[in-house]
C-alpha cells in the first residue's frame, strides 16, 4: 500500500518539495553572500509572507474564493501575538498557536455572510475589510507592553518589545526557525489538500451543482477553508511580530493586500511553489529594486500589469510554467522514426 502511495505523482512532488524546503531553510544562512545581515533578514520576511501567500493561493486556486484582506489578517495575527505575549509572557510557540486560532475566528466571521452569495461578494466584502482593518490598525497601533485593552505604552513609559523565540536568537538561527516553521505549515497545508477536505474543495471548484448533488455542504467546506487559510495567515503575523518584536501599522495598508493577491496570481495559485514565489515577489522584489536605486512604487505598476496578464493568459502562473518546463525536460519529445533512405 505504501508503495502505491509513494508512487503517486503528487505525493512524490510534495516529498521533493518538503526535502528541498528543509534543505533551503537550514542551509541558506551558511551560504556565502547570503548570511550577511540585510539580505538574510529580507529573505526571512519573504519566507513569512510566503505563508500569507499560501493562504491566498489555496483559497483562489483550490476553491475559487477571492480574499483581498490577507495582509489585514497578518496584522490581526501580529496584534494578537503581541497582546497575548505582553499579557501572559507565555512561550512564543504557544502564543503563535493562540494567534492562529484567533485569526481563524476573525477570518470566518468576516467571510460568513458573503459566502452565502456569489464569489464576487466575498471579493467585495474582503476588500472593504482590508480598508477597514487598515484604519483600525492605524488607530489602535500594536501592543508594546502598555496598559489597557489596546496595550499601548505612551508618554514616559518605555515601549517593551517581544523577544525572539529561544531557538532563534541570532539572525541565522531565526531564519532557520522561520524556515522550519514555514515548511512545516506548508507541509500540513499540502497534506490537507491531498486528503478528503482537499478533494472536496476540488469538487466544489469543478462545479458547485455537482458537489451539492454528492451531498457536500459547500458553505461549511468553504468556511473550513477560510478558517484554515486564516490560521496560516495568523502564523505569518506571529512570526512577523517575532522577527522584530514590534510592528508598524504603516506596513499593513490595504494596497499591500491587493499587491499580495497580485503576486500570488503571478507566482501561481495551483501549487505551493507559487506561494513561495509570491512571497519573494511581494517583499523581495521591492527591496531588490530599492537596493538598485529604482523607485519601489514601480513594483505596483509591474505587478499590477502582471496580474492582468496572469488572469487573461497564464492561469497557472510562474510555478505552472516552471512545472511545464520541468516536464518537458524530463520527457523529451518522442523522436520521429528515422526515415529510411535508399
Amino acid at each position: 500500500m505504501s508503495q502505491v502511495f509513494l508512487a503517486r505523482a503528487d505525493v512524490r512532488g510534495a516529498l521533493v518539495g518538503l526535502v528541498l524546503g528543509l534543505a533551503l531553510a537550514l542551509g541558506l544562512p551558511a551560504l556565502p553572500g547570503v548570511g550577511a545581515g540585510l539580505s538574510l533578514r529580507t529573505l526571512t520576511v519573504c519566507a513569512i509572507y510566503a505563508l500569507a501567500a499560501a493562504g491566498v493561493g489555496v483559497l483562489y486556486g483550490r476553491l475559487g474564493l477571492v480574499s483581498i484582506m490577507q495582509i489585514g489578517l497578518v496584522a490581526v495575527g501580529g496584534w494578537v501575538t503581541l497582546r497575548i505575549y505582553h499579557a501572559t509572557h507565555l512561550p512564543f510557540e504557544v502564543v503563535m498557536v493562540l494567534a492562529a486560532l484567533v485569526t481563524a475566528v476573525v477570518g470566518v466571521l468576516v467571510g460568513l455572510p458573503a459566502l452565502r452569495l456569489s464569489g464576487l461578494s466575498l471579493a467585495i466584502v474582503t476588500l472593504m475589510v482590508a480598508g477597514a482593518l487598515e484604519v483600525l490598525v492605524t488607530y489602535a497601533g500594536f501592543p508594546n507592553g502598555g496598559d489597557g485593552f489596546l496595550g499601548r505604552a505612551s508618554g514616559g513609559t518605555l515601549a517593551a518589545i517581544m523577544p525572539r523565540p529561544a531557538l532563534g536568537q541570532s539572525d541565522d538561527d531565526f531564519f532557520r526557525y522561520v524556515g522550519v516553521a514555514v515548511v512545516v505549515v506548508l507541509a500540513l497545508l499540502r497534506w490537507l489538500l491531498m486528503v478528503r477536505p482537499g478533494r472536496t474543495w476540488a469538487a466544489i471548484r469543478q462545479g458547485e451543482a455537482g458537489a451539492v448533488s454528492l451531498g457536500v455542504n459547500t458553505v461549511a467546506h468553504r468556511l473550513f477553508a477560510l478558517a484554515v487559510t486564516s490560521a496560516v495567515t495568523g502564523v505569518a503575523g506571529a512570526l512577523l511580530a517575532a522577527s522584530s518584536g514590534i510592528l508598524d501599522p504603516a506596513s499593513f495598508k490595504a494596497q499591500q493586500s491587493v499587491l499580495l493577491f497580485a503576486t500570488v496570481l503571478i507566482g501561481g495559485v495551483f501549487s505551493l511553489l507559487g506561494a513561495v514565489i509570491g512571497g519573494l515577489l511581494f517583499y523581495g522584489l521591492p527591496q531588490l529594486l530599492s537596493t538598485v536605486g529604482v523607485d519601489g512604487n514601480l513594483v505596483f505598476v509591474v505587478l499590477g500589469l502582471g496580474l492582468v496578464q496572469a488572469i487573461t493568459t497564464t492561469q497557472a502562473g510562474i510555478a505552472g510554467q516552471l512545472g511545464g518546463l520541468w516536464r518537458r525536460l524530463r520527457q523529451p519529445r518522442p523522436r520521429r522514426p528515422r526515415e529510411v533512405t535508399a
Partner: protein, 290 residues
Amino acid sequence: MNLLPFVVAGLVIGSVYALSGVGVLVLYRTTGVLNFAHGAVGGMAALLVWQMVELRMQPPVAIALGVAAGAAIALLFGLVAGPFLARVDQLRKAIATLGLALALLGLMLFVWNDKARTIRLESSRISFDVAGARVNVTQLVCLGLALLVVVGTLLALRYTSTGTSMRALASDRELAAVVGTNVRLVENTAWAISGAVAGVSGILLADQTRLEPAFLTFLIIPELAAVVIGRFVSLWLTLVGGLAVGVGQSLVSAWPTVSAFSTAVPFVVATIVILVAARRRVVTVRVVRT
C-alpha cells in the same frame, strides 16, 4: 450638538459616491466587469487636473482634459484587455481590474508621491448659509450632478439606441451579438462613459476630501457599497445607497469616541445588505456554450 453640518457634508460626499457608483453599475451591467479600478481612474484624473493647474492652465480647460483623460484610460483598458476579459468569468474580470488599480496607484505614487495636496475648485469659494450649515456651490454641483446623472442614465438607457444595445448586452451578450449588436463598440462606449464618470467624481471627491493617490483609489470601497445596496441593478437604489453610506460615515465621524471607525461604515452597511438580500443561495447549472 448641531448635526446639520455633518448631514450636509455626508449628503454631498454620498452623492458623489452614488455618481461614481452609477459609472460602476453601467459598466458592470454592459460588460460584466465590476471595475475595482474606478477610484484609481478618478484619482489619476484629479492628479492630472492638479498638475495642469500648477502649470498655469485655465482650470475649466484642465478639468475638461482631466475628465477626458479618465475616459481615455478606461477606454484604453477596455480596448486592450476587453477581448480577453470577455472569455473569463465575472470574478476573474473583476480581479483583472484590481491589477489596473494597482498599476495606476503605482504610477500615481511614482509621479506625484504620497504628499497631501489640495485642489480647490473655483466654485468652492462661493458659499452661503443654509439653516446654520455652510454650503458652497461645488457641494450643490455634486448633489445636482448625481441626480442629473441618475435620471440621464435612466433616460439614455430607455430611449437611445446605444442605451438599448447596452440593455441587450446586459441581458444576454451572445444573443445580442447574434441579432447584430456591435458588441465591441457598445462595450467600448460603456468603458469610455464610466471612465468619464470616474474622472468627474474623482475631481469632485479630491475637492471635497483630499487629493492623495491611495485614499482616492480606495474610495472604490464606499462606491462599491452603494452598488451593493443597489443590488447591482437599480440606479435609484444606488443613489440612495451612496447617500446612506455618505451620511452614515459623516455622522459616525461626528462623535470623537467612534470617529476612527467611520471607514468601517461601508463594510457594515454592505454586509447587512448582503445578509438581508441573500435568503437562499441558489446553485445554478450553467449550460456550456461553445
